[in-house]
Subunit: 232 residues, 2 copies
Amino acid sequence: MTLTNMNSQVVKYYDPNDYDRPSVTVDILIFAIDDGQLKVLLVKRKEAPFLGEWALPGGFVKINEDLETAAIRELKEETGVKDVYLEQLKSFGDPSRDPRMRVITVAYIALIPSSAIPLQASTDALEVKWFAVASTPKLAFDHHEIIDAGLDRLRGKVRYTNIVFALMPPTFPLSQLQETYEIILDHQLDKRNFRKKMLSLDILEPTDQQVTGAHRPSLLYRFKKRDLVIFD
Amino acid sequence: MTLTNMNSQVVKYYDPNDYDRPSVTVDILIFAIDDGQLKVLLVKRKEAPFLGEWALPGGFVKINEDLETAAIRELKEETGVKDVYLEQLKSFGDPSRDPRMRVITVAYIALIPSSAIPLQASTDALEVKWFAVASTPKLAFDHHEIIDAGLDRLRGKVRYTNIVFALMPPTFPLSQLQETYEIILDHQLDKRNFRKKMLSLDILEPTDQQVTGAHRPSLLYRFKKRDLVIFD
DNA sequence: TGAATAGTGTCTTTCAGACAATATGCC
DNA sequence: GGCATATTGTCTGAAAGACACTATTCA
């Protein structure tokens, strides 16, 4: 498409109608620690394609809506949760990932504190369920691939950031923090070395509260800042 | 939109026409080391908006084209280069990032070996130029933001991967490798410590060739594998 | 007092970082 | 011989990792 502007120069304009446009969605990987496992929230699809199969929560990006805003909206609509850690993961655009039409999806990771897990969620009459990431059912679209990419990101970032803050309740004993690391990294850590390291990072502060039980009470800690900090 | 299927169930279908769809582009950050600086390739726009301003090379994703395929195609079309390291960076979708219409862009990083820098590029009669990342001109769209995100990614990944392989020629003296790290990290490194570290990583192998000049000859090395390796 | 978990310190090894002298080739 | 760059090793301090016992509460 070309036009001539006021200075009589020929100018190429692009026009949305010159091109077929894909649909764009956001999909959200909502992770939480529960029952000693890393879990991901899935919804049962009520539409074709993949009707009746489990899938990541998500939906179309509105035409005047920012990507992150769309992710926040979907998160709220489908699960009722808000004010969580949200980070863009990656976009997936294989032309055949949706059998009916071209859909490009921007995947986000959301992390929810254990204390905030809604058992069954939301305003909608949607079937929503937590699954251990190690044993998810067959999933719609390329959502397995998205989960794998999200796990890689999470496991990588745990090593050089304080990202676990977003998975922890406001206060917690150090043993619970260690357990969170162990679940994500999928290996055991030495208690003494873990405590030494964590306390040396200067990202935690003790509260004046304790947890009691049939054993020695444990001191509760909290994160000094609940924002992402990159170490080094 | 609802239909009734063969089992008389009411089924919701989505239809692309139920929604306004954004346009989707790919933009490519092409980095190379040249003249002791990290440079990025920019093109002068020949279309509105931002006609005449410098921008990242990129263009629309075709309706049946994978995102990475689109990035490879644009890379080739606009610069003539191919067979380079390519990694998805991030998607940018602020509704006002393009003043005329909704355009979501998926940004990619491409890394080119110094030896492969095309001085002026391409089949097209496009104006294309390398700029030091430290002194880019005013850019179209949100391309400054994309460059900043790309620099963060590159500087981060240099620390825990062998990603610099993609910026190096097939063989090189260790001093050139060190210079590449220094340019990216923007600080000087100790020669002895650098060599000790690099050689201990087991990612390099010596060739039987030397570089000569008005000084002691230096041994040429090459990367054992020209694929991304994550350390640890 | 037994069960359960919290809390603590030392030693060893590894790695990062500071630091300077010799080697080689070309002119 | 003089210049330019390549190449090499030691020491120190910090951090990671292995490792085991005592402390506290509750039933």
